[in-house]
Symmetry: C2
Subunit: 303 residues, 2 copies
């Protein structure tokens, strides 16, 4: 049996990636309640918003207002920034970390950020300089396992983008399976390759459970040495009634798996289930999380 | 990166475990069509029915009739038998294999089979003798990772039941996560322990995706040396609208994961998706499989 880590860190992303495509625009009060409930369940690092164009992502139009009202000191708060302007907004908002994105496939980078991968790498170089002493940085490599427009993203291409980005090392490097196509073999290969090339940068994984491989990929990532995983309460992140629904891996399902494996996350399973149920009620539709439906490990029946 | 096997065998169980709890009783013609479609998609070993009391499992009342009409030579057919009577029916029906069950927890064995684990072990000893030269045998250890009534099933208890059963070795030994509670660490531990104790018996895993860990457990099982996995088209096996829905791992999701990992199954992903969609239409409700909704790995966009 391989040696398992004693603990893994979870970044709760329901308030950002989780709800960004939801039809229902949640109020700042509701979002703060979501964040508070996640913190009550043990979350200590949360991606809470993105500093993007509100016309493109209406759910995130309240980013500055939300940031101003966060309960400071209770957790580390991360904001997504897709360009220099977003980064400066994250700094001004007083967040703890800016999570920047470079997409491994040029086509997806253009659709996501309006410019190609080269341009975004140049922006990252500027942001990395500007961040020093002001804010923590994470750099997420999008579509690291495949692209909805270009299909396969060769390992060599991923490593080239990572190498270019690592000329200005972030505090943490993330590989994102943005469209949920990875297999555990891909995760073992790619996390392994990045760690061999850059053994000193902590690796985070951002996984989607689009093809049912999300927790398998999380497990493989942990085996390969990833120390942090993104997940969302209830697996929010896509409409379960849409034909190509695509949620994040559900926090409570991940916590269940890791609890049973003796890997500590600091999160409380029952608290996560309760928070996911509350979020489901706010959104008014079923979330894809499974432990919130099945319950945790069954208690012995009363005699 | 650990060495991956070149291939893994899949047993298609939609026609048995998949539909046994469905409200809609499928006709023998429809079941034969399901089996034919699975074979067309590449399935070569299928659990097709169970020889149980039709009052307890009405969906399986047609077991003998179905068995008589199977397209012989196209695949290996397995029938579930929970006692000596069921075993003799499987032999008389001319199936290739009888899959017998001993449950690791006494309470569950009583609920499932009407007698305790000790009695069923004694029955297994008789069946194993009676099977020689007449029919292949699999022995499935139910609730090998946890029991809905007793809670934890200690590893020592599992190994004791396995050891008792292996006094009369089946052709294949299966560990069943009957209620979908396992983590990959449990699978690594238990498959590893059974293989160390009995290195010569091939190990099959029967997994349910009740808590989203199904494919992670399949992956861990393959890493631990399991050579065969049960799965069902569409992940049929529980109503997705029920609060504690609990399907088998979906065949096409498993095939997707293994295809992407370069592990051959002999099954064709598109064929499996088509068969799962057909089955969904027959049952009249959404199945939990995810690849049938999301599609396989995306083809590059036309220029």
């Amino acid at each position: 049996m391989p040696e398992l880590p004693k603990s893994v860190e979870i970044v709760e992303v329901a308030a950002r990636d989780g709800i960004q495509n939801e039809q229902t625009i949640l109020s700042v009060d509701t979002k703060l309640e979501l964040i508070r409930r996640a913190i009550d369940a043990g979350a200590r690092r949360l991606e809470v918003t993105s500093f993007v164009n509100p016309r493109r992502v209406p759910q995130m139009a309240d980013a500055d207002d939300l940031a101003a009202r966060l309960p400071r000191g209770a957790a580390r708060y991360v904001g997504l920034a897709l360009n220099a302007r977003g980064f400066e907004r994250a700094v001004a908002a007083g967040l703890d970390e800016a999570n920047c994105v470079v997409v491994a496939s040029d086509t997806f980078n253009r659709r996501n950020q309006g410019v190609g991968t080269e341009d975004t790498l140049a922006t990252w170089a500027e942001i990395a300089q500007a961040a020093k002493g002001r804010i923590g940085t994470g750099l997420t490599i999008g579509a690291a396992f495949g692209c909805p427009f270009e299909g396969e993203v060769p390992l060599a291409r991923l490593l080239e983008v990572v190498e270019r980005a690592m000329a200005h090392p972030p505090d943490e490097l993330a590989l994102a399976d943005t469209i949920g196509v990875a297999s555990p073999a891909d995760v073992l290969e790619r996390v392994g390759a990045v760690r061999r090339a850059f053994p000193d940068v902590p690796i985070r994984l951002h996984l989607h459970n689009t093809r049912n491989t999300g927790l398998a990929n999380a497990w493989a990532g942990i085996m390969a040495g990833a120390v942090t995983l993104d997940s969302s309460l209830g697996g929010v992140g896509g409409c379960p009634f849409a034909p190509r629904a695509t949620g994040n891996i559900p926090t409570e399902d991940l916590v269940y798996m890791l609890d049973r494996a003796g890997i500590s996350t600091g999160l409380d399973l029952d608290g996560c289930i309760a928070a996911a149920e509350w979020l489901e009620a706010q959104l008014g539709h079923t979330l894809p999380g499974m432990v919130m439906k099945a319950g945790g490990f069954p208690a012995p029946e009363a005699a």
